[in-house]
């Protein structure tokens, strides 16, 4: 194990981890407000990647305009799913809305297969992101380098919104006690929609960075990242935004380090993620940064 090799793997791990973190924030915020695991989140991420492909390849938009359009379109999709699949079930048992989320996820996957076929599509090559730079014997794409910073910046932004703004205060109130917040005159629907706006825009940015690093997109692209990021959210303490980022980093790093130190087990990366989930649930179900919540009887 040379220093160079370790450094490169460290950067690989941080970069992969920060991609997980971006998606995990979306899971954790929706869970915080609605106590719902939004299984469609990974598929919203996949759709965002396709939006990017079409705005650049088909409509020939320059990348910076395409990014804005992709974020807007993804937010619209996220809010649409909330309005159609989750809102009508607001007073239904929690299990129903969970099943509705799984349904939304399948709908998106099959819709994508129908619209875009199951054959993978190449992600547009945005030179600003995909150019490889050399640092000594290290070679990294710009996307790899900037991903962690983008994630930290967005985390800061999300924390700012939730802690310092009025809508953020409403979010925290709703997350603490849904019924009371409603009685206090907080517009619940607006708060929930804002949560989906934030979650979906992070998924869109995540998808653009993901696509630049892994430029092969197909209708099932969102499945694995979706599951991994859910694990990351649980690991960090679901409902806790900073926890989601910590969970994402740990998971990404653990995957890369497994390959680095135990090359014979490279085939077990996915399995390890699930083992982590089970261990967390058994040992510390509230996650690393999760608050201890006592169920009221």
């Amino acid at each position: 194990m040379t220093g160079q090799l370790f450094l490169q793997q460290l950067i690989n791990g941080i970069s992969l981890g920060s991609l997980y973190a971006l998606l995990a924030i979306g899971y954790t915020m929706v869970y915080g407000i609605l106590r719902l695991i939004n299984f469609a989140h990974g598929d919203i991420f996949m759709m965002a990647a396709y939006f990017m492909i079409f705005s650049i390849m088909t409509f020939k938009l320059p990348w910076f305009i395409a990014i804005i359009i992709v974020i807007v379109a993804t937010v619209a999709l996220g809010v649409l799913i909330e309005k159609t699949a989750y809102k009508p079930l607001r007073n239904a048992p929690r299990m129903s809305i969970m099943i509705s989320a799984i349904g939304a996820s399948f709908l998106l996957e099959n819709l994508a297969t129908y619209l875009f076929t199951g054959v993978p599509k190449g992600f547009p090559d945005i030179k600003v992101l995909t150019t490889a730079v050399k640092l000594g014997s290290l070679s990294l794409t710009i996307a790899t380098l900037i991903t962690p910073f983008v994630t930290l910046l967005l985390l800061y932004l999300v924390l700012f919104i939730t802690n310092k703004t009025k809508i953020g205060m409403a979010m925290r109130a709703v997350s603490k006690d849904f019924e009371t917040a409603k009685l206090m005159g907080i517009n619940i629907n607006k708060v929930i929609s804002s949560t989906f706006v934030i979650g979906s825009s992070l998924a869109a940015i995540g998808a653009i960075l993901w696509g630049s690093r892994y430029p092969s997109i197909m209708p099932l692209t969102g499945v694995m990242p979706g599951l991994k990021c859910f694990i990351a959210a649980v690991l960090g303490g679901i409902g806790n935004t900073a926890g989601a980022v910590v969970g994402g980093f740990i998971l990404g790093m653990a995957e890369i380090m497994l390959v680095t130190f135990l090359p014979a087990f490279t085939g077990y990366r996915d399995a390890m993620a699930f083992v982590i989930l089970i261990v967390v649930l058994l040992v510390k179900p509230t996650g690393l940064l999760g608050e201890k919540v006592t169920d009221k009887v």
């Binding site: 399948f106 430029p215 085939g267 179900p285």
Partner: protein, 402 residues
């Protein structure tokens, strides 16, 4: 808290269940019903002979499956009849999934009552369907499934292509000829094609270099993996002369691109699945210089049938694909081999067709003169090596190995 915990755990279980079956469920609506070639005239049992086409049209191998299907459908257009009856192709999508493969083949045999089956691209699905084919005694003709286990011990499975031990040897020979002394291998855990070909390459490479330590790294990855940075970083540290990464055309561009981004300049090689436009479209400049082996080269038609095929199919593909994919040529061969056998058998009985296939002698196909070995494999000893240059697949060499 206990409630939340148990809810989460049960959810996880439900979720894994769903993901496990989500793949088979992900076909488009076009896959809900088998597409029938002769939709205009449904035809009764008497005036139509049904041949099943068993290919992955979606999933990991969707791109390759569709190329192969194109060749089969073109052959059907050229030779639409056998025994004075119309041949109807019944296409099912096996979704590149082993579980789905058995369902798809059972459906062809039980529901559509096909007399024979063509396919599949991807050895894993062919192997998975093998037992059903053997027990139903329906002859099957693989076009491009190269793993030896497809036909081994299965008297009803034949194939039109060469085998992985041969292909592995061809690539190892090429690598050694290029001066390679060390190699790293990347394979997909659970994919019979990838693991098989990788191991044949390893054996051949060790033998040719005479150095048991010449394979410096063997890494595995799983289905739907996108991130190869970690294994490639390990490989970079070992600095091999070549990287051999037999993989699906969906995964290959990711491996190639990430390798080049990490600054790896070793020669990157793959197998027959790599002759797919996806490699060039997705990997772009990174794909320049990769080397692959394939079955056929349109610039070098070896038989009259090949000349006819290249001329006609080129027109068919105009505007869609720049070159004729080798798997389309094999799909074409698989169809005409089967049609010829049915003609000679004079009946649609499975055993009779099987016996006729076995008796095939010096059949003139697009990919060469075809005879079958005892095992039902096309007796071929010629492979074509291609590279990617200026965004095109370019012929490098044709290699004969005895």
């Amino acid at each position: 808290m206990k409630k939340v915990l148990s809810l989460l755990l049960s959810l996880l279980m439900v979720l894994t269940l769903f993901t496990a079956c989500s793949q088979p469920n992900n076909g488009g609506p076009s896959n809900q019903e088998p597409q029938t070639g002769g939709e205009e005239e449904p035809g009764t049992e008497e005036d139509v002979i049904k041949i099943g086409v068993f290919e992955p049209l979606t999933g990991m191998n969707g791109g390759g499956g569709q190329q192969e299907l194109g060749g089969i459908q073109y052959a059907n257009k050229m030779y639409p009849e056998v025994l004075g009856k119309k041949i109807e192709l019944v296409v099912v999508d096996n979704k590149s999934d082993k579980g789905e493969a058995t369902t798809a083949v059972t459906r062809l045999i039980e529901k559509d009552k096909v007399v024979a089956i063509i396919g599949s691209y991807g050895s894993a699905v062919s192997i998975a369907a093998g037992d059903i084919i053997k027990n139903a005694q329906i002859p099957a003709m693989g076009a491009s499934c190269t793993n030896p286990m497809v036909t081994q011990g299965n008297p009803f499975y034949f194939r039109a292509c060469f085998l992985d031990p041969f292909q592995g040897k061809v690539m190892a020979t090429y690598a050694v000829e290029q001066g390679a002394k060390t190699a790293a291998v990347i394979m997909q855990n659970g994919d019979d094609y990838s693991v098989g070909l990788a191991n044949f390459f390893i054996d051949a490479f060790k033998q040719l270099t005479g150095d048991p330590n010449s394979i410096v790294d063997v890494s595995e990855f799983q289905l739907n993996e996108s991130d190869f940075n970690a294994i490639l970083t390990n490989i970079k540290a070992k600095n091999p002369d070549v990287i051999f990464a037999p993989s699906a055309a969906t995964t290959a561009p990711l491996i190639i691109k990430q390798a080049r981004d990490l600054g790896i300049d070793a020669l990157i090689m793959g197998g027959d699945t790599w002759e797919n436009p996806a490699l060039i479209d997705v990997a772009g400049e990174a794909a320049e210089g990769v080397v692959l082996s394939t079955f056929f080269d349109e610039n070098d038609p070896v038989t009259n049938e090949a000349k006819k095929f290249v001329e006609g199919y080129k027109k068919e593909l105009a505007g869609k694909e720049p070159i004729i994919p080798a798997v389309a040529a094999l799909g074409y061969d698989a169809y005409i081999l089967l049609r010829d056998a049915i003609e000679r058998a004079g009946s649609t009985d499975g055993v009779a067709i099987r016996d006729a296939l076995k008796a095939t002698k010096d059949f003139e196909g697009v990919t060469g003169i075809i005879n079958f070995t005892e095992e039902g494999d096309a007796d071929k000893n010629l492979a074509v090596i291609k590279t990617i240059k200026d965004g095109q697949f370019v012929f490098v060499d044709s290699v004969e190995v005895q």
